[in-house]
Symmetry: C2
Amino acid sequence: MRCEVVAIGTELLLGQIVDTNSSWIGEQLALIGIDSHFQVKVGDNFDRMAQTIRHALDRSDAVICCGGLGPTQDDITREVIAAIMGVELHRDEAIVEKIRLMFESRGRVMVDNNRRQADIPAGATPIAQMPGTAPGLICPIGDKVIYAVPGVPHEMRTMMQGTILADLQHRSGETAVIRSRVLRTWGDSESGLAQRLADRIDQLDAQGNPTLAFQASGMEGIKVRITAKAADAAAVDAIIAAEESVIRGLLSDVIFGVDEESMEVVVLNMLGARGLTMAIAEGLTGGVLAARLSEIDHRMAIFRGAAVSADFATADRPAADSAAAAAAQVRRDFGTDVGLAVVAARTHEEQPSRTVFMNLAIGEARYAQSVALPGDRNRFRNYAVINVLNFLRQTLAANSH
Amino acid sequence: MRCEVVAIGTELLLGQIVDTNSSWIGEQLALIGIDSHFQVKVGDNFDRMAQTIRHALDRSDAVICCGGLGPTQDDITREVIAAIMGVELHRDEAIVEKIRLMFESRGRVMVDNNRRQADIPAGATPIAQMPGTAPGLICPIGDKVIYAVPGVPHEMRTMMQGTILADLQHRSGETAVIRSRVLRTWGDSESGLAQRLADRIDQLDAQGNPTLAFQASGMEGIKVRITAKAADAAAVDAIIAAEESVIRGLLSDVIFGVDEESMEVVVLNMLGARGLTMAIAEGLTGGVLAARLSEIDHRMAIFRGAAVSADFATADRPAADSAAAAAAQVRRDFGTDVGLAVVAARTHEEQPSRTVFMNLAIGEARYAQSVALPGDRNRFRNYAVINVLNFLRQTLAANSH
């Protein structure tokens, strides 16, 4: 089964907005085994939209149209789909009422334009999920289908996950449940991981289910995705759990999280589970580490604060000593259980690689590590942040405090 | 003249990489007055690539193919274009030599696969700029043209700016020089700006050159773009400069920067010009302000450091007092000329809007401002950061220290 994605909006072609919706949809389709061979961006123009959607429908079984469902005169996806279906639009009063209530609950008055959003091609079905004022649509055309979803990412995702992915899977005749889990790694290369998993991949290739795939994700590390298929949810979850335990046996030292867990989520959970609070000292990284930690721990209950200072990196003494002093200092100043410092030796020139010194004070215990990192200034900073988080993670894992 | 963009790579369809190249190219084409009606993503598949590029060439005058020029067997853009041109590939030994030297200079040895990158369709011209190992191509087909550029963004951009945009402009018969300048604003709505500029826009609509356009850019504010056309660069620059001074007369209070100048660049320049150093105290924003300042001032010569602490927001005393005390404290602790604090009253529940207290200590002078901001946690933090930067900018502009 093939499904094409058409992203609608002149602002996409002009580069005023980057089309991230199509990428996300493509990823979701791949996960349920549906091919997406083409993704097209087209402006808010009746003829070009009609031409694009018709062309997509010729070569695919389903088309997802994203955008052009708003209340303004530019928003003509409804009209274009009705023309392709060869039907008229009719106003769905139940949807008018939904929109009116939505405005009322926000203390605003619905204007006439918003009624247009309730105009539905005859024969189309509104999608049950409607997080905004734009209803999504399922529009059957013979044995094919056009879906229309809003361009607002969270509205589109709600409708995809609530209705469209299941409807596509149903239409594809696929009754199996397909699920996947991502194991997130840091500390080995893609070829290194492939080598460590080579025998297992050969075994899985022979048996066909589950499958493993790698995805290099830059500063987020390398993801190993387990995808499995089975008759029901319980069976597929059992296959994934069994495979996860095999992979963990082979890669336990580099796996730090699962699915959407970032490194900062993981370390904050580890600290929280032990009842530890933490303060940090940032020389080199200038506040990036604090920003990442406080984005997760936004009440700053575990991550209590940071000292960011140009003076942690001085030419006066070795950077390793600066890091040790800073870790102890912030732990005292903020009255926390843990003090963590990241400092680089001050240089007077750009260098191809620089050494980062990390120091960790937990109670009376002290841990230090240093690492030489490549990259321009910004890559270097971000590499330093992920390395210091990983240093904290590994140290906590190896020691009980 | 119409130019279509074809982004090539299965990883784009699978959502492993978001296609930002097409957006950037679309923006550049619009700036030189060339229409881009469609942008298509297609996987690394010979037939589907050929079908997509042929279709694009039927309905447009030029096609820019982005990606598929690498050294692996997946990279078949060269072969597909040769087939469309109806010619053979031949190996360009001058390019082989360039690639070999590039490897040599990095201390690596060129492998055989890399020679494939020097295979050029007969009749095609390599693009002079070649920042990586993949040559770009200009491939004439009758009076139309296919360009091939690598998918690596900085390589693609170098070739677009060095060759392709000028070649397209030449082909379009447009001899005029088109340039634009962006005036960046913060503090008024799009409709508010439109109202203040209404008379000027009417005048410009009547005369046709230059033009004004608005672009809402979220946390980056609203951009007002002046675009002008003239016979030569000096004339176009004069038109833009004259228009900029008219617009500044109407919007002087909200314009903070030009083109790529962010708010932090502007305030760091203002501080630097006055020889002032600064330290900051972040309650609410958890290090985000420090990260943004140190990303620009990466040696931390002007922005000397930050104290990030959960305790700046306490229930014990009014948040305005906390902000004043924190601004004075960091100024003393870091020994800087300026101390800046941003603090929110501590709350025990999520609220639809919260008040942010900002305080600025410059020498003996003290300035305070507060603002109620909406949004969920992350939007709130980012709004607070841009507001505190704007508070600093406006206070510096209004006072000489």
